[in-house]
């Protein structure tokens, strides 16, 4: 009886380990088959094997790395500028009521403009240089971090603040020991939103015009009908997005190890 139960459980564990991969593998197999049998034209979609070969070729020529470096550099520079500003302004408006009164309604208004709607203006302002790409990414990541920082600080438990004050904490110590840690879960949620938006905006910025980066690589390959290289670029974006998300989750696990949901 107990033996069947434990074997059932190990089957369950095995199943939950393998099941999520089953569908992608089936799709891959179906894709490969239809490409080989000529059902799918190479112009529409090259076979997976050709994509892998193209990726390997790009790695060997060093093209992949140099483009990847350029793209990641843009993304993280944009994140540092926009996210840093968002965090700073969020802290400012969250902590000081006059700053909130002066800034918040304006920022809430600007928030409703989709960053991509700014593209025509951005091209006029910055041309098609690096500046334009950085600006777009920074603009996009600014608002999630700003809003979540502000919201996080405003929703810190008032009772905890009252307790800390009655224990003699004030000024910087109150912020360091109570308000910032209390706002951190919300700030990290903002960071994850920002990371997601960061790649989306970078892709758009790089496909508009550029002479390096993954976006350039894919647009260039489109010109020459190299669908396999285009697919490599798309998969790279997926990979980068996933890596950023895993990193953000890891950061949450480290910073919020006190939180019941991480224990």
């Amino acid at each position: 009886m107990s033996a069947t139960a434990s074997s059932n459980r190990s089957w369950q564990r095995f199943g939950s380990g393998i099941l999520p991969w089953l569908l992608p593998l089936l799709i891959l197999a179906g894709w490969e088959h239809s490409a080989r049998s000529g059902l799918l034209s190479t112009r529409v979609l090259p076979e997976p094997w050709a994509v892998a070969k193209a990726a390997w070729h790009l790695v060997q020529t060093g093209e992949l790395w140099s483009n990847l470096k350029v793209s990641a550099g843009r993304a993280f520079a944009g994140l540092a500028i926009g996210g840093g500003l968002g965090l700073l302004l969020g802290l400012l408006t969250g902590l000081f009521v006059p700053a909130q009164v002066a800034l918040d309604s304006t920022l809430q208004m600007l928030r409703n403009i989709p960053p991509l709607a700014m593209i025509p203006l951005v091209i006029l302002w910055f041309g098609i240089d690096e500046g334009a790409k950085l600006f777009l990414v920074a603009l996009g990541v600014f608002f999630p971090l700003y809003l979540n920082t502000f919201h996080g600080i405003r929703t810190v438990d008032r009772n905890l603040i009252e307790m800390a004050r009655s224990y003699g904490l004030s000024g910087w110590r109150l912020y360091r020991d109570v308000i910032l840690p209390g706002a951190l879960p919300s700030i990290l949620v903002g960071l994850r939103f920002s990371l997601g938006l960061m790649w989306v905006l970078l892709i758009v910025a790089e496909t508009i015009s550029s002479s390096s980066g993954i976006g350039y690589m894919t647009m260039n390959a489109r010109e020459f009908l190299q669908t396999d290289v285009v697919l490599v670029g798309i998969l790279l974006y997926a990979l980068l997005g996933k890596i950023a998300d895993v990193a953000a989750k890891g950061l949450e696990r480290v910073c919020l190890r006190w939180h019941p949901s991480y224990q």
Binding site: N159, E162, S166, Y167, G168, D177, V178, P181, Q263
Partner: protein, 299 residues
């Protein structure tokens, strides 16, 4: 009136000694000498908007005594405690704690325990206990944790503790400052009955060892009679009953004298309800009254 009270605040008492936790008892025999702060309340008034919560309340609490304040929800008992703790300011009357007029925040010799433990979830148990104190207070914090029997949980997160354990940590956090006055605002309200009885014994022991003045606000009459030297019933913002409890400690809850006293206090608390049958009592209060009444009959 209000301005007069505010201006009479002595500023020099506030931050002094905050960084210097005194040694814990047992280490020095001299600690027994001190015996808490006395409280003197004269026609205290407090309003929240239109509502008058305290109407000229006067009360004297002797040094080192254990006083329980009982009353129905919204009678003003918690407000009185928050005024004594300096979390709020009175609208009239006079409030003296020790030698100084109170209503000043951050007096290290006054500590308040809340109904919820209010531990910082992002600090370990030991860091919660030494909140607001420098690193050098670590031994004192550890000793305070040992005092409440949780030394082995020092490195845990508060989320890993049970409700009773959290309140014990909150108690240790208050004790590490060596308070002369410990204010307890229904600290056991959210705990189960068995944990409560354990906590009663713990609070009583610590009160005896440390010699601080203790003021306990509660809606549980049995708890009040079990712990306090004196039970004060607050009704409509004034004192309805001031009952001395002269039972020997440790108190047997089943004894006749205990039951008689509990009955007397409970009758007083419920009387107001009987006087004004139109006054809507919340379901929780009615259930509370019923529960207490039935407990009495069973005993």
């Amino acid at each position: 009136m209000n301005a007069a009270i505010r201006s009479s605040l002595p500023r020099e008492v506030a931050p002094a000694g905050l960084d210097q936790p005194l040694p814990l008892p047992g280490s020095a025999a001299g600690t027994k000498a001190r015996s808490g702060l006395a409280i003197s309340v004269r026609s205290l008034e407090k309003n929240y908007g239109e509502r008058q919560v305290l109407r000229g309340l006067s009360l004297d609490i002797a040094r080192g005594s254990f006083v329980a304040i009982v009353g129905r929800s919204g009678c003003g008992k918690s407000t009185l405690l928050r005024l004594v703790a300096g979390l709020e300011r009175a609208d009239g009357g006079k409030l003296d704690v020790g030698t100084a007029s109170c209503a000043c925040e951050q007096r290290p010799d006054i500590r308040l325990m809340f109904q919820d433990a209010r531990l910082l979830p992002w600090k370990s148990v030991i860091d919660n206990v030494r909140l607001g104190l420098p690193r050098s207070a670590l031994p004192a914090a550890r000793a305070a944790l040992r005092d409440v029997g949780l030394e082995d949980r020092a490195r845990d997160w508060p989320a890993a503790l049970s409700g009773g354990q959290r309140q014990r940590v909150a108690l240790a956090r208050a004790l590490v400052h060596r308070p002369q006055l410990l204010l307890l605002d229904e600290p056991l309200g959210a705990l189960d009955a068995l944990t409560r009885i354990e906590m009663h014994a713990l609070i009583e022991r610590l009160w005896r060892e440390h010699g601080f003045t203790a003021v306990l606000v509660t809606h549980d009459v049995q708890e009040a009679v079990a712990l306090a030297d004196r039970v004060v019933v607050i009704e409509d913002g004034t004192i309805g009953l001031d009952q001395t409890v002269a039972l020997p400690r440790p108190r047997a809850r089943g004894s006749q004298a205990f039951a008689a006293l509990e009955d007397r206090v409970l009758t007083q608390v419920l009387q107001q309800y009987a006087d004004r049958p139109d006054a809507p009592a919340s379901l929780e209060e009615q259930a509370d009254a019923l529960r207490l009444a039935s407990v009495r009959w069973v005993i």
